[in-house]
C-alpha cells in the first residue's frame, strides 16, 4: 500500500477499534456523513458536530434505512411484488410518520429517471445525429477524402 494511504487507513482502523463503526459494509461512509453534516451546519453557524454524535448519527441513519426498507418490504409483499419499488418506499414513509419526506423523495426519484433517460439518449448517437444511414456514410466518405487530401498535401 502506498504510504499516503496509511494515515487514512489508520484513522479508519482506529475508528474501528473505538467501535461503533460496526461492519463497514453495513454502515455509511463516515466521510460522506461528515460532509453532509457540514453542509447542514456550515461553519458559519459556529456549531460543530462531535465525533461521537456523528457516529451515533450514522447508527441512527442505518437504523432509519433498515426501518424504511423492512416496512417497504412488508408493503411490497402485501402487494405480491417481488421487488421493492419507489412507491413502496413512499408508502412506508407515510406509514412511519415521515409523510413530509414524500414529495422530496418523489422528486428525487423523478430526477433520477430523467437523468437515466438522458443517458440513454446520449448513448444512441446515431438517432441523435438525425441523419440517415446513407447520409452518415456519405459524411464518412467526405471525411476520409478530406483526410486523404490533407495527408497527400
Amino acid at each position: 500500500m502506498p504510504s499516503e494511504h496509511i494515515p487514512r487507513q489508520d484513522r479508519y482502523w482506529s475508528a474501528f477499534d473505538n467501535d461503533e463503526l460496526g461492519n463497514d459494509d453495513l454502515s455509511l461512509p463516515k466521510a460522506t456523513v461528515q460532509k453532509i453534516v457540514g453542509e447542514i451546519l456550515p461553519s458559519s453557524t459556529g456549531i460543530a458536530f462531535a465525533k461521537e454524535a456523528r457516529d451515533l448519527l450514522i447508527e441512527c441513519c442505518v437504523e432509519f434505512i433498515t426501518l424504511i426498507s423492512s416496512e417497504a418490504n412488508e408493503i411490497s409483499e402485501k402487494e405480491a411484488k417481488k421487488t421493492i419499488a419507489c412507491d413502496h418506499i413512499t408508502k412506508a414513509l407515510e406509514q412511519l410518520g415521515f409523510a413530509d419526506y414524500v414529495p422530496a423523495v418523489l422528486e428525487a426519484a423523478a430526477e433520477h429517471k430523467e437523468v437515466q433517460k438522458g443517458r440513454e439518449k446520449k448513448a444512441n448517437k446515431f438517432e441523435q445525429s438525425g441523419m440517415t444511414l446513407e447520409e452518415l456514410e456519405r459524411l464518412q466518405q467526405e471525411q476520409f477524402a478530406d483526410a486523404a487530401k490533407r495527408h497527400i498535401g
Binding site: Q9, W13, D17, D19, D25, L26, S27, L28, P29, T32, V33, I36, I40, L41, P42, T45, I47, A48, A50, E52, A53, D55, L56, L57, C60, V62, E63, F64, I65, T66, S69, S70, A72, K82, T83, I84, A85, C86, H88, L93, G97, F98, Y101, A104, V105, L106, E107, A108, A109, H112, Q116, E137, R138, Q140, Q141, E142, F144, A145, D146, K149
Partner: protein, 462 residues
C-alpha cells in the same frame, strides 16, 4: 453560411469564398461537377464502393469517382433547402445587406417575410403583426452598415418633441450603442455615422414614420409598455447574458407597464417605430447574432425604467443604468433546492444496508435513491434539531447526548431509542464503571468476532 465548414467541405475543402459568390459557385460548380461526374460514373462505376472507407479511392482512382458523383448529386438535391436555410442568416451576409440598403426591394422583403412567422412566436403577435410591413424600411437602413447610427439618430429626431424625459437617454444612446450591438461591422462606425448622416436618417424616419403612426394610434393601448424602450434600448442594452430571459419576459413586461402609458403616449407612438426597427433587426439576425435580438427585447423592460428614472432625475444616465439591469434581472423566480445537502449517499451502500435484512429481496433501481433522499431529509432534521439544542445550551458542539435528547423528545424517533440508549451506556463505560454490566457484556461479546476480522484485514491491507 460562410462560417459553416460543412458547406465548404462539400464544395471544395478549405475554399473560403464570400457568400455572394457562394450560391453561384455552388450552383455552377455543383452542376458542372455533378454532370461531369455523372458522366464519369456511367463508365467505370462500382456503386458498391461508395460506402467503403477506402483511402485508395480518395486518391482519384476510378473507384473514387462514383463516390464523388453521388455526393454531389446529393449536394445538388440538398441545395434548395440549404439555401433557404441560409436565408435566415441574411444580416450577416454582405450581399443581402446590400439588398436591404437599396430600400424595400422585393428580394429583401421576401427574405424578411420568410422570417416573420418565427418572429411572431417569440413576440406577442397582437402588438407587432400589423406593424411588420413597416419594419422593413428601417431594418433596411439597419443593414446598410450604419445600423446603430441610424437608430440613434432616429431616436433623436423622434424624441425631440418631448426632449425632457429622453434627453438623458440620447447621450447614452450615442455613446453606448456600438458596444451593445455585438455585430462586428457596426461598432466602430456608429459614432461617426451618427454625426455625419442626419439627413439620411431623417429621410428614413420620415418615410417609415407616417404609416406607422397610423397603425400605432390604434395600438397605443397595447404598445404602451414598449413605448420608450427602443430608445433606451439602443442606448443602454448591452447584449448581456440576460438576453434569453428578457425574451421570455417580453410579454409580461408589457402587461405590467400598460397602466403607465398615458404619460408617454407620444413616445409610445414613436417608440413602436424603434421597436420595429429592433425587432426586425433582431429577427433577421436572430440565428446569427443573438445580441441584436436581445437588444430589441431587452430594451423593453429597461426602457420603461429608464423613462421613470429620467422623469425622476433627468440627469445622469449612467446612474440610472444599473437599477434598470437589476430590474430586468428581477423577474425570474429563483428555483433553489430547499435542501442544503448536495452530497449524495452512495446508492450501492444504501442498497446493501437495505438488503442486509434477509427478508428484503430485490430492490428497484430507483429505490435506493428514494431511500437516500429520505435519509438526507432525516439527517437534516436530526442535525438541525440537535444543533438548535446545542445553541440553547450555549454549546458550540453537538454531542451525542444532545442527539439522544433530540431523539427522546420526539415520538417520531422512537425507533432510535434503543440505539441512543446503547450509545449512552458505552459512553458511560468510557467515563467510568458501567452501570449495567449485562449490557457491557453483551457488547463485548458482539465485538469479539469483529475484532478478529479486523486483525485479519489489517494484515492484508498492510
Amino acid at each position: 453560411m460562410i462560417d459553416d465548414p460543412g458547406e465548404h467541405g462539400r464544395l471544395s475543402s478549405g475554399d473560403a469564398g464570400q457568400t455572394e459568390d457562394l450560391h453561384v459557385r455552388k450552383n455552377g460548380l455543383g452542376a458542372v461537377l455533378g454532370l461531369s461526374l455523372i458522366g464519369l460514373e456511367l463508365t467505370p462505376g462500382r456503386p458498391g464502393s461508395a460506402v467503403e472507407p477506402d483511402l485508395k479511392s480518395t486518391r482519384g482512382d476510378s473507384y473514387f469517382i462514383p463516390d464523388l458523383s453521388s455526393k454531389f448529386i446529393h449536394f445538388l438535391l440538398s441545395l434548395p433547402t440549404t439555401m433557404s436555410g441560409e436565408g435566415t442568416y441574411a444580416p450577416r451576409s454582405p450581399d443581402l445587406s446590400s439588398f436591404y440598403s437599396s430600400g424595400p426591394t422585393p428580394p429583401a422583403e421576401q427574405a424578411q417575410t420568410q422570417h416573420w412567422p418565427p418572429l411572431s412566436q417569440s413576440q406577442p403577435p397582437s402588438q407587432f403583426s400589423p406593424q411588420r410591413p413597416h419594419k422593413l424600411p428601417p431594418s433596411s437602413t439597419h443593414f446598410s452598415g450604419q445600423p446603430a447610427a441610424n437608430q440613434s439618430s432616429h431616436h433623436y429626431q423622434l424624441h425631440q418633441p418631448q426632449p425632457q424625459p429622453q434627453s438623458p437617454h440620447q447621450q447614452p444612446q450615442l455613446a453606448t450603442p456600438p458596444q451593445a450591438l455585438a455585430q462586428a461591422v457596426r461598432p466602430s462606425k456608429n459614432l461617426s455615422d451618427i454625426t455625419n448622416q442626419p439627413p439620411l436618417n431623417t429621410s428614413f424616419s420620415g418615410a417609415a414614420y407616417p404609416p406607422q403612426s397610423q397603425t400605432y394610434s390604434t395600438y397605443i393601448p397595447q404598445s404602451a409598455a414598449p413605448a420608450s424602450q427602443p430608445a433606451s434600448a439602443s442606448s443602454y442594452t448591452a447584449p448581456s447574458p440576460q438576453s434569453y430571459q428578457n425574451r421570455s419576459w417580453y410579454g409580461a413586461d408589457n402587461y405590467q407597464y400598460r397602466p403607465q402609458k398615458p404619460i408617454h403616449q407620444q413616445q409610445q407612438q414613436q417608440t413602436p417605430l424603434h421597436a420595429q426597427h429592433y425587432t426586425s433587426g433582431a429577427f433577421t439576425t436572430q440565428p446569427a447574432g443573438l445580441p441584436h435580438g436581445l437588444d430589441g427585447t431587452v430594451s423593453r423592460p429597461e426602457s420603461h425604467d429608464a423613462n421613470h428614472n429620467s422623469n425622476i432625475n433627468s440627469g445622469n444616465p449612467a446612474s440610472t443604468m444599473p437599477p434598470k439591469r437589476g430590474a430586468a434581472a428581477r423577474p425570474p423566480p429563483p428555483t433553489i433546492e430547499p435542501s442544503p445537502v448536495k452530497t449524495k449517499f452512495p446508492t450501492a451502500r444504501i442498497k446493501r444496508i437495505m438488503q442486509a435484512d434477509e427478508e428484503v429481496g430485490k430492490v428497484a433501481q430507483q429505490t435506493p435513491i428514494a431511500v437516500g433522499k429520505a435519509l438526507e431529509l432525516f439527517m437534516v432534521q436530526m442535525v438541525t434539531k440537535s444543533a438548535d439544542l446545542a445553541r440553547e445550551k450555549n454549546s458550540k458542539r453537538v454531542s451525542a447526548q444532545m442527539l439522544k435528547q433530540v431523539v427522546e423528545a420526539d415520538e417520531q424517533w422512537d425507533f432510535l431509542r434503543e440505539i441512543v440508549s446503547r450509545v449512552e451506556t458505552t459512553e458511560e463505560k468510557k467515563g467510568g464503571p458501567s452501570k449495567s454490566k449485562s449490557a457491557a457484556e453483551t457488547e463485548s461479546e458482539d465485538e469479539a468476532p469483529e475484532k478478529k476480522k479486523r486483525a485479519g484485514r489489517r494484515k492484508k491491507v498492510a
